[in-house]
């Protein structure tokens, strides 16, 4: 009974925390990037202010758009939110931990992606369709790389359940492995592609021809745009939290830990997320965006790395 209550409480705390973190992560990355480029940059809370402003505005629907435009932002945000609830943050053993399967998380993010692509097609504009087709092409390379990474993690942890993986890695009995390094690189490449970051896509671009993610949102406005922005921010946070849960698992409160464990976990989780956000900003500042048709090569390399990691794991774990 007590355990259930604790699990539920951590789940609710986690939900509130990740929702609060999402705009901060996006704003923080933008701020650090601006600083690195020698600009002052907007306040890190600017995304939150934008969000609140957009929520008050009246949405304008394009002529010829259908119910899809009005419904998909809600579906996409709900799917991303559910994925966020499944990824462990400051604590493990949350109420939804038994269903926190990595394949399900990938599926939920795919659902959000499909909703976005449908919204891109809905108004019947050139850029929307273009962005949707490109997004799905990237997914065709990102998804197998993600699955191969899941395979490596599942072999090491015995399960594809993210909570189990995180718990095992927190104990640190596995040590440092080359295969995990490869998986980390593959997952980071997938995360860059999924979140439309440089070098795959530029979140700050104003050139329609090179847009992928933004091209699908050109017709969104008002609260619909707010929902899409929130979804993108939340997705970035989910990916960073996922990387933190797998590769920086130390300090997270184990299942059934009390408030002291939570506080430690909370502080460390904040530090980890900040570290990853800064790393992202530095990486994005240091690298140039690549041509759209080079992206499959970039993600193909990630796929090969993940497969190599799988082969290494098979050989080194002595399972063969």
């Amino acid at each position: 009974m007590m355990a259930t209550f604790l699990a539920l409480l951590t789940q609710i705390l986690h939900a509130a925390l990740i929702l609060a973190a999402a705009p901060l992560v996006v704003g923080g990355v933008r701020w650090v990037k601006a600083r690195l480029l020698g600009r002052r940059g907007p306040h890190p809370l600017q995304p939150l202010r934008d969000l609140l402003k957009l929520l008050r505005k009246r949405p304008v629907l394009a002529d010829g758009s259908s119910v899809v435009t009005r419904a998909t932002p809600y579906v996409a945000l709900a799917a991303t939110l559910l994925a966020a609830l499944l990824v462990p943050g400051f604590a493990q053993g949350m109420a939804l931990a038994p269903v926190a399967d990595l394949i399900l998380i990938a599926g939920l993010l795919a659902l959000a992606r499909m909703a976005l692509a449908l919204a891109g097609h809905d108004a019947g504009t050139a850029f929307g369709g273009l962005g949707a087709a490109r997004e799905m092409t990237f997914a065709a390379f990102a998804e197998p790389a993600l699955l191969a990474s899941v395979l490596v993690l599942a072999v090491l942890a015995g399960s594809s359940n993210l909570d189990a993986i995180a718990a095992l890695f927190r104990e640190g009995s596995l040590g440092i492995r080359v295969s995990l390094l490869f998986v980390l690189m593959a997952l980071m490449a997938v995360a860059l592609a999924e979140n439309a970051r440089v070098p795959v896509d530029n979140p700050a671009t104003h050139l329609e021809l090179t847009m992928v993610h933004e091209a699908m949102l050109l017709e969104a406005s008002g609260r619909h745009l707010a929902l899409w922005e929130a979804q993108a921010a939340l997705k970035l946070t989910v990916w960073l939290a996922l990387l933190a849960a797998i590769f920086l698992p130390f300090g997270a409160a184990p299942a059934g830990a009390g408030p002291i464990g939570w506080v430690v976990g909370l502080v460390l989780w904040g530090a980890k997320m900040a570290l990853l956000a800064v790393a992202l900003a530095v990486f994005e500042t240091a690298i140039a965006k690549m041509r759209v048709f080079r992206v499959p090569e970039f993600l193909g390399a990630a796929l090969l790395l993940a497969l190599l990691a799988a082969a290494l794991v098979f050989i080194t774990t002595g399972l063969a």
């Binding site: 269903v99 399967d101 504009t125 050139a126 087709a133 699955l147 399960s159 017709e219």
Partner: protein, 665 residues
Amino acid sequence: MLTLLGLGLLALAVLAGLGAAGLGRRLVPLGAAAVAAVLGAVAVATLALGPVEEAVLALGPPWGPARVALDALSAWFLLVLAVVALPAALFAAATGPSSRAEAAAFPLFLAAMVLVLLAADAFTLLLGFEVMSLASWALVAARHPAGRGRRAARLYFGFAAFSGLCLIAGFALLSAPGMGFSEMRAAPPEGWRGTLALVLILLGAGSKAGLLPFHLWLPLAHPAAATPVSALMSGAMVKIALYVLVRALFDLAGVAQPGWWGAPLVVLGAATALWGAIRANVETDIKAILACSTLENVGLITLALGLALVFRGADLAPLAALALSAALLHTLVHAGFKGLLFLVAGAVAEQAGSRDPDRLGGLIHRMPWVAGLAMLGAASAAALPPFSGFASEWLVLQALIQSWRVAELPVQLLSAAALVTAGMALALAAAAMLRFVGLVFLGRPRTPRAAGALDASGLMRAALVVAGAVCAALALLAAPALGLAGGIVTGLLGEGAAPPISGLDLILGEAGARYAPWAVTALLAGLTLALWYGLHRKGAPEPRRGPAWDCGFMPPPADLPFGDPLTQPSAAGAAQPIRRALGRLALAQRETHHPATPGSTVPARLRVEARDHGFVALLWPLGRLRRLAGHQAERLRGLPLSAYLALALGTLVLLLALLAWGAVA
């Protein structure tokens, strides 16, 4: 039960007679729908209550009576058949057959598929299989007296004949101890006989199911038939071929076969899945898109079946149960959504007058029912949670991930490669479904005909709703549905094996992974509704309509009420990124580019020709071989009389020698 099924077969025969006589245009398909409903009920009852024992019929070939039985495996595929046949027959009643031949062949096609499933001896099974092939060929050919459809029918006929020959040879090897299934089971083939049987069965059933490299006919023949027939061919007929595969390799060949038997299935399945998914992204006919997606799904099912064989060979019964359950569930789920999607495509073709996405568009405004159900089917086909496709594909992926437990490096590497291939196929399937829905139902109408389309009504809508309801039910009730297949899993893999379910959840015991469709659906729906209500409190501004921003493109002239169609993504345009990145794997492509000369008003042109590698590598050499053989045979006509006599004598001597050898051996 068997009596009921016999009566059903009789009713189908009567309906075929009625159709041939040109009577009862509506009655024949409605009767078929009623029979399909009975088949479904019988199948569920058999799965729930237990198998029906073998019965010997009073008719059959001279060397032994025909035998029929209905065990769990047959009943499961009977359920698969019923899931497609019921809505398809309703749809057929709504549109009506185009000719008497079609009206007669439709019930016959159904009856033949039922006969394959009921058969308990090799002869009856092969008889049903051949009638099924012929009836479906007739259904394709009857619609196309000439032209491309006829050529597709001819190609189909060739592949069906090849498949039939391979199956006859394969079953001849298996049925050395006797024609009945029980005798075959008692004395499974060993050594080279077993291997040869595997190869022949795989060739025969595989070419009927569309496995590489014998997939060429499928994307041509399935769309060429009438819509309900396309649905049946894609949703049910390929499953009958897979049933023969399962029956022969899992059941009749015995449990003692080596694990490597699964390897060719894994390789072919993964390759077919990827191939079909790539082709589904470049086709420009909505029914061909769906047929290629069938290739993808058949590939995934075969992959899971192969894994089950590998696991069984390695004595990992729980994992074998997982892989087999994945294959069985995906068979049922695919029947549900593919039947729905083909009927949707048929409704679009019927109401909007075209199957070319470049002549459709914006149908969600005119056909809300069809569009909604299309999205349900597409979401299932794209394996998005919480829709039905995700449950089965989750099982397939889990089976692939768990295969590291087979402690052999080749198996582990093979399954890692298969996992990556399957993952790419899944993502590509989602892209294909997006392209299908986005081009056909979203955006603006591309032709006046599409702008004036009417929604499906009456029986047609009923057919779509039935198929959609099956799809939705399977999404939530995946685990109980799989529970019905428990008899198959224990029957084929031994007493210790059971489907990976617990209550309403799919669950992997030792790995601790779990998928709870109810929880995911409830959470997603709850979160969506909460967001909706949260943002639609009092005072939230109502949306306003305005012209599309489209990055400041000029508004279209007045003579284009739906905007310039050229500013919308076209079928080729939406396919371009994937064709460019991955098309080479499946298609031989040639691009010719005519740039516009500076100063002239002639537009630049880019011409893309894409053809399946199979045509270049398999079909064209075969055609050349046939022509060569024809020329050689032609030379026989000009021989002198003495040469003819010598030929006849030589043949006689050869036959006598054969006879003598047979007597000695």
